[in-house]
């Protein structure tokens, strides 16, 4: 049992404050920063649908490519033009949410330990998305496409794998073949398909992945994109002419920043930058840091009845069911996949045998955190409760990744911080309230919709609402329980809420 560290980086504090402000505007449910990954999927689908429409009218050819896009943009402005604009702006938004997603997960430290997989598989997605976008810009074959194509091809020519410079094909209209556009069309379909495949790989080690943003958020984004498409439609920048250097172009900085960079830096330096970023991001989960994961969950077969609750609640698909191996009459047993377990303890909180009402002093649950066994938590809680004084005694359960509840401890308040609030079996609440050991139980953890371990907040709320196993028993007075979700940036609000709860208990107003 540990309390969350009080030392936090400035970036983390800033992010939490910013997200707190967004919570006030959107509510936790629709906060865009809590749905960056899902928004990525959403923008991808907008790009796909609009792209399919554009594809119907797109012609592959040195002359035809530009003309077909112009037709779509101007002759069919009411639909084709809007589709083209949506295609561009959703692609740009995809890059923005992808970078924000990456930055956010980094700042919040959600890439270490078993979470390396999602982080690592996300790295190639960055380059593939950029490649697909750059490729898309070339298909328009306007002045911007010409500038981008020539500079990028020159950049690739720097690699010692091409004996004949490919940029030579862009010397004049005669050297450029229609097949180039056929090839680009092919890439523009196959690369996004591969991206979609990698999206699947990216989320394959998490349970209940959120791949669709909440309807309100999706609608808001779509409407805003539509408005932008009408106010500032995506336009071409004049037909490409390989005999004329455009000299000045309007650049899409989300995708085409490499070309201006190549103007300032040598091709080798830009390759070194790309390689360096890839390498750094790739090895980041394994770089030395202060984070230390506690020992992973362990199954005690003697106490496991194969009920599957741990499997249902594990947010990382780290627990699976296998045929029984110990001869007991149950069909299955829980098995922990070590390299997927993040030691959140949610499985232990879901196990029906974790109840503190068991008679043995050193009882063992079906699945336990070896460093935080349930009998140890019960003993610690009982000892803490015995020390409580005053007219209103409250037990606070919290989470190591949220507000530091250690600072709430007082003569009338006992605290217990867990790796995740959902490690707490509801029976512990009943146990604390049993025979008036305490007057009330206060539950806290990460902000709503932003659980460090993904599902902890949701599972806890559902268990207390008696909607999910293990449910809080009906005989427990709900008025003696209060939930308040708070990050480390919300400590003052948390302290006030606790005081308000204690006051309500004191006054007998059990609300």
């Amino acid at each position: 049992m540990t309390t969350s560290s009080s030392t936090e980086s400035l970036a983390r504090r800033t992010l939490l404050r910013f997200e707190g402000a967004l919570n006030k505007i959107f509510g936790n449910d629709l906060n865009p920063f809590y749905h960056l990954g899902a928004l990525g999927f959403f923008f991808f689908w907008v790009v796909t649908v609009s792209g399919l429409y554009i594809y119907v009218f797109y012609d592959t050819g040195v002359e035809d490519a530009f003309a077909s896009v112009e037709y779509l943009t101007h002759e069919q402005r009411y639909l084709g033009g809007i589709m083209r604009s949506l295609h561009r702006y959703a692609s740009d938004a995809l890059v923005v949410v992808m970078l924000l997603h990456l930055l956010r997960e980094f700042i919040l430290g959600r890439y270490r330990g078993a979470r390396w997989f999602a982080w690592f598989t996300g790295v190639p997605l960055i380059w593939l998305l950029l490649a697909a976008g750059i490729n898309g810009y070339w298909m328009v074959w306007d002045k911007l496409a010409q500038y981008s194509a020539v500079t990028i091809i020159e950049w690739f020519d720097w690699l010692p794998i091409f004996s004949v410079p490919m940029a030579g094909y862009f010397i004049s209209a005669e050297t450029l073949d229609n097949r180039f556009f056929t090839l680009m069309s092919f890439f523009h379909v196959t690369v996004p398909l591969f991206i979609l495949f990698l999206f699947w790989v990216h989320i394959m080690r998490i349970s209940y992945p959120v791949v669709n943003p909440k309807r309100g958020l999706a609608l808001g984004m779509l409407l805003a994109m539509l408005v932008l498409s009408l106010v500032s439609p995506a336009l071409s920048q004049g037909p490409a002419d390989l005999g004329i250097e455009p000299g000045s172009v309007g650049v899409d900085w989300f995708y085409l920043f490499v070309s201006p960079l190549l103007d300032k830096w040598s091709a080798g330096q830009v390759w070194a930058l790309v390689g360096g970023i890839t390498l750094l991001l790739g090895v980041l989960p394994w770089l030395p840091h202060r984070f230390r994961q506690i020992p992973i969950a362990e199954v005690s077969l003697k106490n496991c009845n194969g009920c599957r609750r741990c499997v249902a609640d594990c947010p990382y698909e780290a627990v699976v069911m296998r045929p029984r191996s110990d001869g007991l009459h149950f069909a299955e047993e829980a098995v922990v996949t070590p390299d997927r377990c993040v030691s959140c303890g949610i499985c232990a909180g879901a196990c029906p045998s974790s109840t503190p009402f068991r008679s043995e002093a050193d009882y063992v649950s079906g699945i336990e955190m070896p460093s935080l066994p349930m009998h140890g938590l019960r003993a610690a809680m009982t000892a803490d409760l015995a020390k409580l004084q005053g007219d209103v005694r409250v037990m606070v359960f919290g989470c190591d990744n949220a507000a530091d509840i250690g600072k709430l401890r007082s003569a009338g308040v006992a605290v217990m911080s867990l790796p995740c609030t959902a490690m707490l079996p509801p029976s512990f609440i009943e146990y604390a309230l049993h025979e008036r050991q305490v007057d009330g139980v206060f539950i806290t953890g990460c902000r709503e919709s932003d659980c460090y371990h993904r599902m902890g907040g949701v599972w806890t709320a559902q268990r207390l609402a008696r909607e999910r196993e293990p449910r809080l028993r009906g005989r427990v007075e709900l008025g003696r329980i209060r939930q308040y979700w708070a990050s480390s940036a919300d400590f003052s609000g948390l302290a006030s809420e606790l005081e308000s709860f204690r006051a309500s208990l004191r006054n007998g107003r059990l609300t």
Binding site: Y147, A234, G250
Partner: protein, 175 residues
Amino acid sequence: MIKPLQYMGQGLFYALFFGVIGYFSTWPTYTYLQPDETLIKLSFGHAGQLKEACRERTPEELAKLPMYQRKVTTICPSRERADVVVELEMDGKQLYHVVLPPTGFAHSGTSNIYRRIPVKAGVHTLKARLKDHIGEEFNFMHEETVHLVPGRIMVIDFKSATGGFIFKNKNTTQG
């Protein structure tokens, strides 16, 4: 926060989010070639001469070969080709100099070049020279006064079969 204020806040967020996207999807414009500049592109491939000359097989050597190998009467001691050296001068000043090694593991392939050279637009005398053997002399040379229009890309190609350098996409003022 009351609902209308929340909606206003959300509207502001969306406006800001897509305002940034809308702006940076086209602006700021990037200028990489000044209005008084133009480009010369050197782009061609040329195989240098063999470093060691080939010779005809003697009748005695041919007689020693099986019948099916006697059709090839020339023998080359090495496939290795000489580097191709290219120089470009503009108005008497050296603009570019490059030594292009032959491609391939055996150094027997063509020497290739693609180079973009920004220059001031205007009337210039351009002299291109190429050497494709191990000696000192440049064996191909072409000089021409050209009018380089701003933004227009002049391409310098090379084809030994048609006499050497070809200046394309330029306004000639003097041959």
